[in-house]
């Protein structure tokens, strides 16, 4: 599985820093630049994208293939340059989940969070082909 190793207990060997930087923030949360990605084994494949300094609230995220197996966001050249992606394999894609109550959940496929695994810099991008994807894509639940 292509994932960043970012659980709090499993820090990367490179610099011991598990912070992911979003220089532009998330849309609507532009002032918050630093996040951590937290996992609880019993909650997989969900993960928590948590603002540094905030412990009770977070964004629930999920790898997009759980919502749409052939999801393929097409990044603009500007976003590729912004994220300093040298190869597609450096891109780690997470999509924000919204719990809708009554066991329903939707996934935002129109505005994925793309993180460079090497630099830990990320951005909520709007892919060039965003029109193909829904902002409230139903998440198949069992």
């Amino acid at each position: 599985m292509n994932t960043l190793e970012l659980t709090p207990t499993e820090r990367p060997a490179t610099n011991g820093n598990d912070v992911i930087q979003l220089p532009s923030g998330l849309l609507g949360f532009e002032r918050v630049k630093n996040y951590r990605l937290l996992t609880r084994p019993e909650e997989e494949p969900f993960m928590w994208f948590q603002m540094v300094g905030e412990t009770k609230q977070a964004f629930l995220v999920v790898p997009p293939h759980y919502a749409l197996p052939d999801y393929r966001p097409d990044l603009s050249d500007l976003d590729v340059a912004f994220l300093d992606l040298e190869d597609p394999s450096e891109a780690f894609v997470l999509n924000i989940v919204t719990l809708r109550g009554k066991g329903q959940a939707t996934v935002n496929l129109k505005g994925p969070i793309v993180i460079n695994r090497r630099t830990r810099i990320g951005k909520q991008v709007i892919p060039v082909n965003a029109a193909e994807y829904a902002i409230r894509h139903p998440l198949p639940l069992s």
């Binding site: 609230q57 629930l60 197996p69 603009s76 500007l78 992606l85 891109a91 505005g111 965003a130 198949p140």
Partner: protein, 93 residues
Amino acid sequence: MLILSRKPGESIVIDGHITVRIVRLEGDVVKVGIEAPASVPVHRQEVYDEIQKNNREALTQTAAKLPRVVAQAEPTSLGVAAAKDSFHHAHQH
């Protein structure tokens, strides 16, 4: 804000490489044609507004009870696409 008057068929050039043309008027709808390099993202304002609204709705208590997700096979291809040139280009920066 700069406000310019344009007639159908007339254009505005931004930064020498982005052309915005008023294509036609259909009642209260203005058809706008935009020619821009592939490197310049062009989206409707509503897309940004919707994502902002969705982000605000999505912020969740970490104690929330989570639903169970249908298992999916791992994708065989990489998760993002982009023109090969753009990755090479990024490398040069």
